[in-house]
């Protein structure tokens, strides 16, 4: 990991922060927002230490960092996304530096200085990082405040497992409306139980069911609301294993599927690489309650525990994000706003 010692990694502070982040990325379950914030903190350190060498070096350093993080945990998109967002800011600054006519930031000033010094540029990039951090702080509240548009009184909703965004979404609606929520427990980690516990104080009727019962109950559900781990470039979504079954059942009964996810999870990659889906967890989670695992014949079995499901865009009715709600076919627009195309593959 530290074999390729670039100059910017030598700083102890940077290396410590990087190691910490890479460790975080390996832990389950991880909080997307925490990863994003940690990545931005690391990017701050890198930008401020490399800034005196010029904007080009800063760009290289951020790109290098993005690559290191991907190497640490190839399927965690959030850390790369933060690197890409900072890269977009840097590209904009580089464009302005090379073509001063584009600079509209100090119109009206009597003498426009076409060459910005390194300190100003560093400040601009740091300011943009702060803006992204503020955006991250506002992710959950922004998602939650849209809940009243989508959840109405006496509706029956269904969710799968536990997601922070979904929890806040439901809590916010529960303040004003009374509804019923069916929680599928998600047999992998029983995260549904955690959501049930967190919602128990609210003004909602909670029903906890096993994953297999989702299809049986779907005909009585008005809406399905689930969280996601990543939003891919074609509008499809990576979510916890088991959610595709929920999506297929919802489609069969024409029940609208709503995904709550912050835009830090939006990635410019397409789900064309099978590695994305072949992310497996320890089989112990499958055979936890199994009484026969010790027997000799059991050793011949292969036990597989995939972590993620891919839900294609045609199953999804609405993506509720911190920038508002939109349909999956609109994802390409948001992508162009957030990221530059050349940063897709770091």
């Amino acid at each position: 990991m530290n074999h390729s010692t670039e100059n910017w990694l030598i700083g102890k502070e940077t290396r410590r922060a990087l190691n910490y982040l890479q460790k975080e990325l390996r832990e389950e379950p991880f909080s997307g927002l925490r990863i994003a914030k940690e990545t931005l903190r690391l990017l701050r350190i890198v930008v401020s230490s490399v800034a005196p060498s010029g904007l080009d070096k800063v760009e290289d350093a951020v790109r290098q960092l993005g690559r290191e993080l991907t190497r640490g945990y190839p399927r965690c998109f959030i850390a790369e996304n933060m690197a890409r967002r900072v890269l977009k800011v840097i590209h904009e600054e580089l464009q302005i530096a090379n073509n001063p006519r584009l600079d509209t930031s100090d119109l009206g000033s009597p003498c426009r200085n076409p060459v910005k010094n390194a300190k100003t540029v560093k400040n601009i990039v740091m300011e943009s990082i702060s803006e992204i951090e503020d955006e991250l702080d506002a992710v959950l509240p922004n998602i939650a405040e849209q809940s009243l548009e989508h959840i109405h009184s006496n509706e029956v909703l269904l969710t799968f497992g536990h997601s922070q965004s979904v929890e806040e979404f439901l809590k916010s609606a529960a303040e004003k409306r009374h509804f019923e929520i069916i929680i599928a427990e998600c047999e992998l980690d029983y995260s549904g139980h955690r959501l049930a516990k967190n919602l128990s104080e609210e003004n909602v009727d909670i029903t906890l069911i096993s994953d297999a019962a989702v299809v049986a109950l779907m005909s009585r559900v008005h809406k399905v609301i689930i969280g996601a781990e990543a939003i891919m470039a074609d509008g499809s979504v990576l979510a916890a294993s088991g959610t595709f079954m929920v999506a297929a059942a919802a489609r069969h009964y024409a029940v609208p599927l709503v995904i709550c996810a912050g835009l830090h999870k939006l990635t410019p990659l397409f789900p064309h690489h099978p590695d994305i889906l072949y992310d497996v967890l320890s089989p112990s989670q499958v055979i936890e309650n199994c009484k026969v695992w010790n027997e000799s014949w059991f050793r011949q079995l292969e036990v597989s525990c995939p972590r993620l499901d891919l839900i294609q865009s045609q199953y999804i009715r609405l993506l509720v994000t911190n920038s508002g709600g939109f349909s999956p076919s609109y994802v390409y627009r948001i992508l162009n706003e957030f990221y530059d195309e050349i940063d897709t593959f770091l």
Binding site: A233, D234, G235, F270, H272, H273, P274, S329, Y330, V331, Y332, R333, E341
Partner: protein, 323 residues
């Protein structure tokens, strides 16, 4: 356009001009260039050698050249040529509005023409680069039609991966055979099937990859006849349909029905060769369309030199191109 030409002398000049344009166009095609880059080269040449002294005059000449090219273009290239020449004419108009001096305008147009021509030629490599990521080791791909861009994608992927390709025969001209040869020489394992076997084979296929003669404003594609069928079957088996196409083929057309597409002149003639032992009475009627329109709902993604696009994103890119 002939209304402005009064006397026979002007008509003579006009027909010589058209003849030269066509000659130059065919010369470029003979060097292996695709239709649109060849057309752009010809139009740039017209600007270079033009004796006109006003922008309006230049525009008229370019329109005459375009008409000449479209007259000799094969039906398969008609849509893309129309799209790319229209795009170039728009560049001309825009540039003429930006510069006040005619000579400077001409210089900029020539530079733009050469830049545009360079772009269109590099498109294929860029598309091969983005498209080959979607081909995995061990995948089975179905293709229809005879697109050089699709061949480029396969050739690039074949360098690092092993996969199988089903190629449709491509009646009536059987272009599937030459396409299969080309893939074989790139080291791809190829199986030829009848056009009617697409339904039979579809459940074994992982993805469908076709080219396009043109891309409509809503993200649908115009391609060799049979592509619509392949897309419908693929959609009913939930297999993704990918289209590899250069961005200069994006066009502002909006076909509402299959019959809105330009029909070849030999539309109602039988195709040759009919099977050798077939004898048919002259009273039997034939219909022989060359292309069909596949709506955007059946297309998963488009691989273009502007990147990977969903059909919904095509109209945004079109707006940007035509601005």
């Amino acid at each position: 356009m002939n209304g402005a030409l009064q006397n026979s002398h002007e008509q003579e000049l006009y027909s010589t001009f058209q003849k030269n344009v066509i000659e130059l166009f065919e010369h470029h095609l003979a060097t292996g260039s695709a239709y649109a880059p060849a057309a752009t080269s010809v139009l740039t040449e017209v600007i270079k050698s033009s004796e006109e002294e006003t922008v309006m005059g230049l525009e008229v000449q370019l329109k005459q050249a375009t008409d000449a090219i479209l007259k000799v273009a094969p039906i398969a290239a008609f849509v893309s040529l129309k799209a790319s020449t229209e795009l170039f004419l728009r560049f001309v108009i825009r540039t003429s509005l930006e510069s006040s001096d005619f000579e400077e305008c001409k210089r900029r147009l020539i530079k733009r023409g050469e830049y545009f021509r360079g772009l269109t030629e590099a498109s294929r490599d860029k598309i091969a680069e983005v498209g080959e990521r979607f081909i995995q080791d061990g995948s089975v791909i179905l293709t229809h039609g005879n697109s050089r861009v699709v061949a480029a994608v396969f050739e690039r992927a074949a360098k690092t991966k092993r996969f199988r390709v089903y190629v449709t025969e491509g009646r009536p001209d059987g272009s599937g055979y030459s396409f299969a040869e080309r893939l074989l020489s790139a080291g791809v394992s190829v199986t030829i099937i009848l056009d009617s076997c697409v339904g039979f084979i579809m459940d074994q296929v992982d993805l469908v990859l076709v080219g396009a003669e043109g891309v409509a404003e809503n993200g649908g594609i115009i391609n060799r006849v049979g592509s619509l069928q392949v897309a419908i079957v693929a959609s009913s088996y939930n297999k993704p349909v990918f289209v590899a196409v250069e961005s200069y083929k994006f066009s502002r057309i909006y076909p509402l029905r299959q019959h809105d597409l330009p029909l070849p002149s030999k539309y109602r003639e039988p195709w040759y060769p009919l099977l050798p032992e077939v004898k048919i009475s002259k009273d039997v009627q034939f219909e022989n369309p060359a292309s069909d329109f596949t709506p955007p709902s059946l297309i998963s993604l488009l691989f273009t030199d502007l990147g990977v696009l969903t059909p919904a994103a095509v109209s945004d890119e079109l707006i940007r191109l035509y601005q």
